[in-house]
């Protein structure tokens, strides 16, 4: 007997993994949420499990008394208590349903690897686009603001400067945004430092430098410095937000990082913007 959530993908993964295996599937009502999140939120819980077992009168359906739960249900289920209340022996299976056949073949024992949550490069890349979409509007507004500011100089506002210099800045800004959003998650293990905000800043600085070397080599110093700071700040914020998508960050750690990173990023953005605007006065 295998237990899962009533989230479609969870159910499908399980069903596919169990092809050719004789068993029952019990789907708990987790309001359509996957196993891990439902367990964290308390919908995949000891109480729900016991209640559902009673409702379907499982003890009448099967003669054995063994339940296999996904390991990631553990934040919500207390195995001892569930066993005591339901009369069914609760065993935690592997993290990923695809390992179930091997788990069963080994007499319901999981290898160390089956017990671990991974975060491989294709998984990191798969979650990347979402962050990009979520923040795209904000990023675009910031880029437009930069373009607008680029048009201002002692001579007043110049439409042609805004479109030439500002247009270039906007294009570079969006390019840096998209690249950072994809490369950040992808290169996560290799970016320096553990704090995501610092990883992001490092990546942003590298991207900004590359952009400057290619397109902005003639910019005055102040504009270059402002650009470096602004891009690094933006990517720092982007990667800080990526913590929510990973499988290896802890709430205490993120809280602590947000506490120092957010003020630093705000300062970076303010100084960068001011320098960017002032750079108009440096331009011939």
């Amino acid at each position: 007997m295998f237990v899962t959530a009533n989230y479609k993908l969870s159910f499908d993964h399980l069903r596919r993994a169990l092809a050719g295996i004789d068993g029952w599937i019990l789907a708990l009502d987790t309001k359509g949420v996957n196993v891990w999140c439902a367990a964290g939120e308390g919908n995949f819980s000891t109480e729900e499990l016991v209640r559902r077992l009673r409702d379907v009168q499982l003890d009448q359906v099967v003669s054995h008394r063994n339940l296999i739960l996904p390991q990631l249900a553990a934040p919500g289920v207390n195995a001892f208590e569930a066993t005591k209340l339901s009369g069914f022996r609760v065993v935690y299976g592997p993290v990923y349903a695809r390992d179930l056949p091997r788990f069963l073949a080994a007499g319901c024992t999981a290898t160390t690897d089956m017990r671990r949550v991974h975060f491989r490069w294709h998984e990191r890349l798969a979650v990347a686009p979402l962050e990009l979409v979520i923040h795209f509007k904000r990023a675009l507004l910031a880029g437009l603001a930069l373009a607008l500011l680029a048009g201002i100089s002692p001579a007043g506002f110049s439409w042609s400067r805004m479109t030439s210099l500002g247009g270039l800045a906007l294009a570079l800004w969006v390019a840096a945004y998209v690249l950072a959003g994809l490369l950040g998650p992808l290169l996560l293990p290799w970016l320096p430092m553990r704090a995501f905000a610092l990883k992001g800043a490092a990546l942003g600085a590298a991207l900004a430098a590359a952009g400057l070397a290619t397109f902005g080599a003639s910019w005055p110093f102040l504009r270059m410095a402002a650009w470096l700071l602004l891009v690094a700040t933006g990517t720092s914020f982007l990667l800080l937000n990526f913590t929510g998508c990973t499988t290896f960050t802890s709430p205490s750690g993120v809280r602590r990082e947000v506490r120092w990173a957010l003020p630093a990023q705000s300062a970076g953005a303010a100084i960068g913007l001011a320098a960017w605007a002032l750079a108009g006065w440096q331009m011939p």
Partner: protein, 106 residues
């Protein structure tokens, strides 16, 4: 991959531990090692504070402040002075959805 060090709220009361081994079983990051009838914390910094070990320990030998690890929720929490929230419908609704799409969650 490791996150920040020395930030984890995980506590183990080895005196209470009866060595059942469940904490080692349920932890998705191999934080615990149970040897000769006692659990020990092998890799504290790997802990993500999911709460699975504490929930399943039969003698309440483990405590951990589990919660939402999503920066957006924490930022919102800091800005509004309210509890950080999680869930499908609220601020960080995107997080579980996207994790699922990526097949990170069974």
């Amino acid at each position: 991959m490791k996150y920040l060090s020395d930030q984890i709220s995980l506590r183990l009361d080895a005196g209470r531990c009866i060595g059942c081994g469940l904490c080692e079983t349920v932890c998705p990051h191999g934080v615990f090692l149970v040897q000769r009838g006692k659990a020990q914390i092998r890799d504290r910094d790997a802990c993500i504070e999911c709460g699975a070990c504490a929930r399943n320990c039969p003698v309440d030998a483990i405590a951990v402040d589990s919660g939402v690890g999503c920066a957006q929720a924490i930022i919102n929490g800091l800005l509004t002075g309210q509890e950080t929230c999680c869930g499908e419908r609220s601020c960080c609704g995107a997080k579980p959805t996207e994790k699922r799409r990526a097949g990170l969650i069974p």
